[in-house]
Amino acid sequence: MANARELIALRYQFWEEILDRKHWVMYLQPPILDLSELREVFSRAQQAELAKVIQTHTKAFMVKGKEPPAEIAGAIKNFADDIASGREVTVRAGDYIAVQNFMRAQKKASK
């Protein structure tokens, strides 16, 4: 029966998408022009909650000068930097992982 390696065959069927996605996940640089688009992109990946966390803390930092939680401070400041300098907002893999870990820790703590 199907050898486990055979899944590679199907990988090729989505090869272009996978390359795109690899690019996205390695560097996480979807062309996001503002935070509302960020929400949209992550919503498509069933991750509206993630977009909300990023949006909330980035806005709080930029508008009210509120320091983000230490675990995601680097990530939030990277987003803020992008916005402040007029660059496309890019979600770097490390920042994405940091925010996910932050959310997971919060969920655990609230249980």
């Binding site: 029966m1 486990a4 390696r5 055979e6 996940v25 990946a45």
Partner: protein
């Protein structure tokens, strides 16, 4: 390094069941009976929900024969709801019009069907007389139904001499995609090692692919050499450059009991955790996870790959092939470059 590991399992192979209606001589999983503790539907659906944060793009059902699992439709539907592509690797015995309809209704649009040679060889490997004809009919049905269908050939010492005949056969059937992969010596193949490819056989496979790849493409059939066909030699075909085994880096496998491995072809001793006990995210990002492939240095190369000038980029070829033949990673003996260097007479 692993603490700062920043990649995701974009492609997940999921062994839905180890049950299989065939007992193929080359089966690396020694599939046949289901595992005693396979995941329940609820457990499987809970795993599906853990995949989006890990940025999984595609899940491929495998087995055993995945279509024997009572849960494949529900799991496929859930994955599609989550925006994840679903493909199936099947032995082709269960492809009926009704099955194709159920697959379409579940959101599955791609499948790969195994065909391991012309009729005599295929039936010998699979152990069922007349099976080749049934599989051919299944492939034709799937093409008519509009599936993206790939034929997979696990090339062995018998079928390597039938590749030209298969090419004509597949073209005649209207197949557009054909993957060729060398057999390796795990599982049931341990009892049939005479079917393993010799160096000369392996070169013959490489030459076939190199020669026919562009010609077949012009005629509408894409030939895809799998991970075990390479590396860095005159026999390379155009395509993504080999960057080393992706297991545990951008791909991984879920076993039917919830265990997670970098590659489903790896032995069970290399399980990284079980999704019944641990969250997928925790397994994937654990600091020492998947060290076999993630933590690689030139000093890890051994055997055939020791001292190879492209070893750092190649990382020693296909991990599963390397492990099956040498008991180590980063030492894949099936390598055109290495064989040609060792035995220039074969060049």
């Amino acid at each position: 390094m692993s603490n700062k590991f920043e990649s995701f399992p974009v492609l997940v192979g999921w062994e839905l069941t180890l049950a299989c209606n065939l007992r193929c001589r080359h089966c690396a999983s020694s599939a046949g009976e289901q595992r005693s503790n396979e995941l329940t539907l609820d457990e499987a659906l809970a795993i599906c929900d853990q995949l989006p944060p890990l940025l999984v793009l595609e899940v491929v059902f495998t087995g055993g024969e995945p279509l024997l699992s009572p849960h494949w439709e529900a799991i496929a539907k859930r994955l599609r709801e989550l925006g994840i592509h679903v493909g199936v690797v099947t032995n082709g015995t269960l492809i009926t019009d009704e099955m194709l309809k159920r697959m379409q209704d579940s959101g599955i649009t791609a499948m790969a069907v195994s065909m391991d040679g012309l009729s005599g060889t295929h039936d010998f490997i699979r152990g069922v007389p007349g099976l080749h004809d049934r599989v051919m009919k299944g492939i034709e049905r799937s093409l008519e139904a509009g599936f993206q269908t790939t034929v997979i050939t696990t090339v062995n010492a018998l079928s390597v001499r039938e590749l030209s005949g298969m090419l004509e056969l597949l073209r005649g059937m209207g197949v557009k995609r054909w993957q060729l992969q060398p057999v390796f010596g795990f599982g049931r193949m341990r009892e049939s090692r005479q079917l393993l490819l010799s160096d000369a056989d392996y070169l013959e496979l490489g030459r076939f692919v190199r020669h026919w790849h562009p010609i077949a493409a012009e005629r509408g059939l894409m030939i895809f050499p799998a991970d075990g066909v390479g590396y860095f030699s005159e026999l390379d075909v155009p395509g993504p450059r080999w960057k080393g085994c992706s297991a545990g880096i951008t791909t991984c496998g879920i076993m039917s009991d919830g265990s997670v491995k970098g590659c489903l072809s790896w032995p069970d001793s290399l399980v990284e955790g079980n999704l019944r006990a641990n969250d997928f995210w925790e397994i994937w990002f654990r600091s020492d996870a998947f060290a076999y492939t993630r933590r690689f240095g030139k000093e890890d190369l051994s055997g055939n790959c020791l001292g190879c000038e492209v070893g750092e980029e190649c990382r020693g070829g296909c991990s599963a092939m390397s492990y099956s033949e040498t008991g180590r990673f980063h030492a894949d003996p099936y390598c055109f470059r290495s064989i040609l260097n060792r035995m220039p007479s074969l060049s």
